[in-house]
């Protein structure tokens, strides 16, 4: 007992601990998901398993495509056979004097350097003139003839066509910086992005590959290699289709490709390959690893969220089951607050929630602000408030749950007490008045709730909670369903009870009314009925049992009688053989003989009668032909009847009439009737035997005129030991008709005797078997 006790307490503590742990897990998961960069993108993005499928990658690729084409432009401009050509012409200006000068790269650089410009390690133009030297040539507005690095520039404003050599040189320097930048980052440094752009130059002489201009950062790799990098993009001039396995194709790439085609033909292409293994350190590799981190975090967060929720639910259920079962005794242990009426508990809950809110705002939030940085403060406050309110609500819920488990929730409630007072007030009135009260209460409740609903609905615009009208509507709906349930249950109960009564009165006394789910009153009534049925059933069984006992007793007694009777009969017979001449003794012997024979039939018939009337006979029912049976019986009796000058007049149908009966018992019935006629019919009279069918019944009728007056009632004839002659002078046990009647009824037939003066008529009726 004590061990179990401890184990329940232990279980409770473990469950509570686990609950807290799962709460922490849940909150961790929530935080991870909420503050993930991809929060609010739903769960679908998790399917983007790698960085190359994401939008940032496409944006990065677009900017890199931009850069690649810039590099192509600058390479044409600045490079000659792979080296920088310092003599390349950069721009041409016309001085005010009309003098035109073409500046080479070298000259532009020198000019800029003279003014103090230089390139940083990161390939950015820095520095500049401390003082503008007025005497520097070209330091005035000059007309720009052309710019080799920006050949397509269009001057929209009049001043645009003018610039200083300084500005132009700085521009050249910028171009050079950008060229270096690209070259360093994409060509010299290993990158995860490989590209190859190819144009066919019409102007150059020679044909085929010689005339082909190829720009690439992977001269050693074939096109096939680039395609096998992981992700690739191939666009050619002679096809409108884009061959790629990228999720998003950069939008700018085709236009750039066409723009940079200096010749008119369409024999050009661009092939990009992205090594998705990201072996080289570059922006792609960095972004990829960051993306993987975010994704892992998000997935982990979601998993923690789900696990936490599931754990919370599971431990909550466990705690709900355990609560109240403290002391190991089967009853529910209640703490003092659990005994409060439910309404009070709910009021307390409201108050506690309010207090909890205040405590949070005035104390806990300040602690939160101490530890959490500004941007997370609001979230942390929400979490703290949620946890506090949840704890309060859970405590109150468990209190209510314990009360419910102890079946005190409803009984302790104020509503119940009010209800009880009302019921007590009403209980003294008669039933019709009570029903009227009940109906009035129902109408009042319905009307009140409907009115509340309508009023709240009409004022919903001005209410703080506009949907408050749904509350009375919901209560109304529940109330109506409840009333319907009560009416339905009462109907079902009365139907079941009346059905049970019908069954019991129909003879099925072992029938039981199933009272599960019944109301208290109906259950009492049905239990009483069941008890009544039990009593009837027992009485019935007792009767059957006593009938059987009686039959057994008669059988046993008859056995005991038979043995001495055998001796009597045998010795009477032996005496008769002694040829005694004395007539007196002869007469005595005849009496002895007759009476001992009668005793013999009596004992035999007695057993049969008791068995037949108690139903203690095993029937062998088969299809037998009643007409055939009567023919057979006639054959058996014809000569015996003739001995008493009785004429047997039978009118039987030619065809056979089948009935379901036991042939031997049926013969016994007919034999007893014939015997009856043989014994009691008036000599020299006729015995009529008919078989007729009508309405699916076959009726055997036997009529004879009694030798002695029948001064008794027909029903009495079938009673045991009753014979037509009250003096009992003739042979016979007086059991024949009784046995015939019992046997007929056992086989499902009808046995009737009619007496009209001296006319004796017996009818045996059976249903005809339909073929």
């Amino acid at each position: 007992m004590k061990r179990k006790n401890r184990s329940i307490a232990l279980k409770k503590q473990t469950a509570l601990l686990l609950h807290i742990v799962f709460l922490c897990l849940f909150l961790t998961g929530l935080t991870l998901v909420l503050f993930n960069k991809n929060f609010r993108r739903g769960l679908g993005w998790i399917q983007e398993e790698s960085y190359v499928d994401t939008l940032p990658f496409t944006q990065q690729l677009e900017s890199d495509v931009e850069t690649i084409f810039k590099y192509i432009q600058y390479k044409d401009l600045l490079e000659e056979d792979g080296e920088i050509n310092y003599d390349a012409s950069m721009f041409c200006v016309t001085y005010n004097s009309g003098y035109t000068k073409i500046y080479t790269l070298n000259e532009a650089i020198s000019y800029a350097r003279r003014l103090g410009y230089y390139l940083t390690d990161a390939y950015e133009v820095a520095g500049g003139p401390a003082v503008h030297e007025k005497d520097m040539p070209g330091n005035s507005s000059l007309l720009i003839e052309w710019k080799a690095y920006d050949p397509d520039e269009i001057y929209t404003e009049p001043g645009d066509a003018f610039s200083t050599v300084e500005d132009l040189s700085v521009q050249v320097l910028n171009v050079l910086a950008e060229y270096y930048h690209i070259r360093y980052n994409y060509i010299d440094q290993p990158s995860n992005l490989y590209f190859r752009v190819s144009y066919l130059d019409d102007a150059a002489d020679g044909s085929g590959e010689a005339a082909r201009k190829i720009y690439t950062n992977a001269p050693d790799l074939s096109n096939e290699d680039l395609r096998n990098m992981g992700r690739y993009l191939f666009i050619s001039g002679d096809s409108i289709f884009v061959d790629s396995n990228l999720r998003h194709v950069p939008t700018n790439i085709t236009s750039q490709l066409v723009t940079h085609n200096r010749s008119g033909n369409d024999d050009y292409y661009i092939l990009l390959g992205i090594d998705t293994g990201f072996p080289n350190a570059d922006p792609y590799a960095a972004a990829n690893s960051e993306y993987d981190g975010i994704r892992a975090e998000y997935i982990g967060g979601v998993l923690l969220l789900v696990l936490g929720l599931a754990g919370l639910a599971a431990t909550f259920v466990i705690m709900a089951r355990l609560t109240g079962h403290t002391d190991g005794s089967p009853s529910i242990a209640l703490y003092y607050p659990d005994r409060l009426p439910a309404e009070c508990t709910l009021l307390l809950l409201a108050a506690a929630l309010r207090i909890g809110d205040l405590v949070c705002q005035n104390a806990l939030y300040r602690f939160v602000r101490l530890f959490v940085s500004r941007e997370y403060t609001s979230y942390a406050e929400q979490v703290v408030r949620g946890v506090v309110l949840y704890a309060i609500a859970a405590v109150v819920f468990f209190s209510l749950l314990r009360s419910f488990k102890a079946r005190r929730l409803w009984k302790d409630s104020l509503l119940y007490r009010l209800f009880g007072h009302l019921m007590r007030a009403v209980s003294g009135y008669p039933l019709p008045l009570k029903s009227a009260f009940g109906f009035a209460a129902y109408l009042l409740c319905s009307a009140g709730l409907t009115a509340a609903c309508l009023i709240l609905y009409s004022r919903r615009v001005s209410m703080r909670i506009p949907y408050l009208y749904l509350l009375p509507a919901l209560i109304l709906a529940v109330f109506q369903v409840w009333v319907f349930f009560l009416i339905y249950r009462s109907r079902v109960e009365s139907a079941k009870i009346s059905g049970g009564i019908m069954k019991m009165s129909g003879g099925d006394t072992s029938y039981k009314i199933d009272s599960t789910g019944f109301s208290e009153d109906a259950a009492r009534v049905s239990n009483a009925l069941n008890t009544l049925g039990d009593g009837l059933n027992t009485a019935l069984q007792e009767r059957v049992k006593s009938e059987r006992l009686k039959a057994d007793l008669i059988t046993n007694v008859s056995h005991d009688i038979k043995t001495p009777l055998t001796s009597i009969i045998n010795y009477v017979d032996l005496l008769k053989r002694e040829q005694i001449q004395d007539e007196k003794i002869q007469g005595y012997l005849n009496v002895l003989d007759q009476k001992s024979q009668r005793l013999k039939t009596l004992t035999e018939d007695l057993v049969e009668a008791s068995k037949a009337s108690s139903g203690n006979i095993k029937l062998e029912i088969s299809d037998i032909d009643l007409v055939e049976l009567i023919h057979q019986s006639n054959g058996e009796f014809e000569e015996r009847f003739a001995r008493r000058n009785l004429e047997l007049v039978s009118s039987l149908p030619a065809e056979s009439i089948l009935i379901a009966a036991d042939g031997r018992r049926m013969w016994r019935v007919i034999e007893n009737l014939y015997n009856n006629a043989f014994k009691y019919a008036m000599e020299n009279s006729r015995v009529y035997v008919d078989v007729e069918t009508e309405d699916g019944l076959v009726c055997f009728t036997m009529k004879n005129v009694s030798a002695s007056p029948l001064n008794i009632h027909a029903d009495e004839l079938t009673e045991r030991f009753v014979r037509g002659d009250v003096a009992r002078t003739t042979e016979g046990s007086g059991l024949g008709l009784s046995i015939a009647k019992s046997l007929t009824e056992l086989q499902g037939g009808k046995f009737q005797i009619y007496i009209d003066g001296d006319l004796f008529k017996v009818q045996v009726t059976f249903p005809v078997l339909q073929k």
Partner: protein, 231 residues
């Protein structure tokens, strides 16, 4: 002289049976319970046994079972129990006949004689069944000389009775309705046949059966017809 063992715990009944059987020329030895009967069987040459069922010590059923282990002599059970179940039980465990008390002394003697004839005289006759000889238990019909005998005793039958019996014996076990018998014997269509057939059957039964009310051979299937029990 044939020896009959009579076993019953009621001494007067044994005495009465003794008088009847001795009068018929049999030698009777008497036992008053099952054990005694078994001892006497060992020490005497017994041809037939009459045994009561309800006896102290070893009862008739168990005595019969014991006897049947070693001997095939006719056994007639004599009992106050007259229910069907008791008769079926007695016949099933090996008894040849079942007579319920109180019995008719003449019937008892007739049955004893019948069983003894079958057991001693006709035991081997069965093998000689020729083409035109029909046999059913103790009932024998010789179609060549139109002779019928039961347990070796000749029976006198009218031609119609003979024909009916022959029809039933030829088809032993089959049930014939009155109409079928009429059509077969009279070669006429049976339209509303009267009681002729039934009366004839009754006559046959009275001639070939010891107790016509409880026939051994010609059985009435009530409501269906008549048949010869296959044996």
């Amino acid at each position: 002289m044939q020896t009959i063992l009579v076993c019953d715990d009621d001494k007067q009944i044994v005495e009465a049976i003794d008088i009847y059987l001795t009068g018929e020329g049999f030698r009777v030895i008497k036992a008053y319970d099952g054990y005694e009967a078994l001892e006497l069987l060992d020490s005497h040459d017994v041809d037939l046994m009459i045994v009561d069922v309800m006896m102290p010590g070893l009862d008739g059923i168990r005595t019969t079972l014991k006897v049947r282990e070693t001997s095939s002599i006719p056994i007639i059970i004599l009992s106050a129990k007259s229910e069907d179940n008791d008769k079926i039980l007695g016949l099933n465990i090996g008894a040849d006949d079942y007579i319920s008390k109180p019995f008719n002394p003449l019937e008892l003697v007739a049955r004893v004689k019948s069983h003894l004839r079958r057991y001693t005289q006709l035991g081997n006759l069965t093998q000689q069944t020729a083409d035109n000889i029909y046999k059913c238990g103790g009932l024998l019909i010789n179609d060549d000389n139109k002779e019928v005998s039961v347990d070796g005793e000749l029976i006198r039958l009218t031609p119609i009775e003979y024909n009916i019996l022959l029809l039933l014996v030829k088809n032993a076990g089959k049930v014939f309705s009155i109409d079928e018998i009429y059509e077969q014997i009279w070669n006429e269509e049976a339209i509303g046949a009267d009681n002729t057939v039934a009366v004839h059957i009754r006559h046959i039964r009275e001639k070939i059966e010891i107790n016509p009310r409880e026939p051994r051979y010609l059985k009435v299937v009530w409501g269906v017809g008549y048949k010869i029990e296959k044996q």
